[in-house]
Symmetry: C2
Subunit: 291 residues, 2 copies
C-alpha cells in the first residue's frame, strides 16, 4: 500500500506544482508561501479519494485533476488560517514551522486567501468535458468549504472551546469541519466520471463514515501518538481544552468507534464490488496510521 | 445622480440580502459577521459598474445579479482582511468598528474567508443562460481577485511599505490592488451580456482608467477629506508610511492626474455613444466625491 500511495502522491504533487509555479514577479513571495504549505508533505487524502472515486465509475486522473488540486489547495488554506495566532496559534505543522512563523502573519493570511482563490481559479481555467457538470461540481466544492461546510465547522469549533459539548454536537462539528471536504472529494470524483444519483449517495455514505473514522483516529493519535512521527506536540488538544472523542467517551470507546465507522465505510461501497478494493485498503490504512 | 444611485444601491442590497440570509444555526455568528461588513454602507461601485456595462450591451440586472453580488463579497472580504491587526491594523471603517474589533480576530478572519468562498458558491449555484460563458466569467473573477490581481497588489503594497517606490511601481500596485476588481466588474458585465472582444476591450480600457482616477482620488481624500464624512481618520496613509500619489507627486499633480484619467475613461466609451451617459456621469460623480 505504501508504495502505491507514494506513486499516486507523486502524480498529485506534479499537478499541484503545475498549478502553483514559482513566480519571479514582485508578488512572488505569495507563491513561495503557497508552495511552502502545499508541499509541506501532506497525505493528499482528498485528491486521492476524488481520483479513486472517479476510477470506480470509469474515470481517471485527468477526469479530476483540476478539482482534485483545487480541493487540496482549499484544505491547505484552512490549515494555514487554523494555525494563525488568533485561531489555534500553532507554531509547528507536520514538523515544520507554520506559515505565519515562516513568512509573518500578514503573508500567511494572504497565502491562505490566495490558495482559496486559486482553487476556484484552477477549476475555472480548466477545460471541461461538460460545462454544466463542471459548474455543478464547483457548487459541491464551494458548498463543502463554506459556511454550511468546513468554515461552519470551524466556527462551531471555536465557539465550543472551553465548554464540554455533547457527543452529537461533536459529531456535527466534525461532519462539517473535516467531513465536508472528504465528502466533496468522493462526490465530485463520482460526479465528474458520470455517476448517477444512487452511486453518488453510496460514495457520500462511504465518505461520511470514513470522515468520522479519520477524525476519531486523529483524536486518538493526539493522545497515543509519537511527537516525532506526528510532527506536532502530543496532547495539544487537551492543552487547548478542545473537545475530542477521547475526552468525551474515552480511549477504548473511541477505538471501537473507529472500527465501527470504518466498517460502515466499507459497507457503503458494496455495490461497487471488487472495484472498491483500493478504497477499502485505503480506509484500513488510514485507521491504522500513526501520523 | 444621488437619487439614481440610491435606487440602484437598494436593488443591489436586496440581492445581497438574499444571498446572505440571517442564519440561526450553531455557526450563525459567521453570517452575522459577513452581513455586518457587507451592509456597512459601501458605495456598491463594482456591482453598479457590472450592471451598467451589461446594460450597454442590452443586458439587465438579472444578467449579472449573482456575479455582481459575488464581486461585492470579494471586495468586502478584502477589506475585512486588510483591516486585521497583522495587516493595516485599522479600528474604524466607514465610521464603524472594523470586523475584528466587533467580532474578534478569529471570526473576522473566518468571515473574510467565508465571503470569498460564498462569492464562488453564489455564482456556482446560479442558473446560467450559458454554462460555458459563466465559467469564462468565473475565470475573469477569480483571476482578478487572486495572485495576479488583487491579492498580488496587496502583497506588493505590504512589501513596499516604508520604502519610497517609483510612480510606475505605484501604478502597477494599484492596477492590481484596486484596478483588477473594477476591470473584472466591467468585463464580466459585458461578457455576460454577449459583448464581442472589441467591446470587451473598450470596457476594460474604461475600467482601467476609472480605477486609476478612483485610486488617486482616494489618496487625495486621505489628505483633504473630512474625518466624519470619510468615516476614518485623516492622514492615516502618511501615518502608516504608505506610498500614495499625493506623497509621490504632490497634491496639484494628483488632481491633474484624476482629471486626465477620468477623460481617458470617458474616451474609451465613445463607441457606445449615448448609451454610456450613466457611466460618464458616474465617473464624474466618483472623482468629485468626498468620501
Amino acid at each position: 500500500m505504501t508504495e502505491e500511495l507514494k506513486k499516486r502522491i507523486a502524480v498529485i504533487d506534479a499537478a499541484l506544482n503545475d498549478y502553483l509555479p514559482v513566480c519571479d514577479k514582485p508578488q512572488g513571495i505569495i507563491y513561495d508561501a503557497m508552495r511552502y504549505s502545499v508541499f509541506a508533505g501532506g497525505k493528499r487524502l482528498r485528491p486521492m479519494l476524488m481520483w479513486e472515486c472517479a476510477k470506480l465509475l470509469g474515470g481517471d486522473w485527468d477526469t479530476v485533476r483540476p478539482f482534485a488540486c483545487a480541493l487540496e489547495m482549499i484544505h491547505t488554506y484552512s490549515l494555514i488560517h487554523d494555525d494563525l495566532p488568533a485561531m489555534d496559534n500553532d507554531d509547528l505543522r507536520r514538523g515544520m514551522p507554520t506559515s505565519h512563523i515562516k513568512f509573518g502573519e500578514d503573508i500567511a493570511i494572504l497565502a491562505g486567501d490566495a490558495l482559496l482563490n486559486k482553487a476556484f481559479e484552477t477549476v475555472a481555467a480548466a477545460d471541461h468535458a461538460d460545462a454544466a457538470i463542471a459548474i455543478r461540481a464547483m457548487g459541491v466544492l464551494s458548498n463543502a468549504s463554506g459556511t454550511e461546510g468546513m468554515i461552519g465547522g470551524q466556527v462551531i469549533d471555536l465557539k465550543s472551546e472551553g465548554k464540554e459539548i455533547a457527543i452529537a454536537e461533536l459529531q456535527h462539528l466534525h461532519l462539517l469541519k473535516t467531513g465536508a471536504l472528504i465528502r466533496a472529494a468522493c462526490v465530485i470524483g463520482g460526479m465528474l466520471a458520470g455517476a448517477d444519483d444512487k452511486e453518488l449517495d453510496s460514495l457520500d455514505s462511504f465518505a461520511k463514515a470514513l470522515g468520522v473514522a479519520f477524525q476519531i483516529q486523529d483524536d486518538i493519535l493526539d493522545v497515543t501518538g509519537d511527537e516525532e512521527t506526528l510532527g506536532k506536540p502530543i496532547g495539544s488538544d487537551a492543552e487547548q481544552d478542545k473537545n475530542t472523542y477521547v475526552r468525551l467517551c474515552g480511549l477504548d470507546r473511541s477505538k471501537q468507534l473507529v472500527e465501527k465507522y470504518s466498517k460502515d465505510a466499507s459497507e457503503a461501497l458494496k455495490g461497487f464490488g471488487n472495484k472498491a478494493e483500493f478504497l477499502n485498503k485505503l480506509t484500513e490504512y488510514l485507521i491504522n496510521r500513526n501520523n
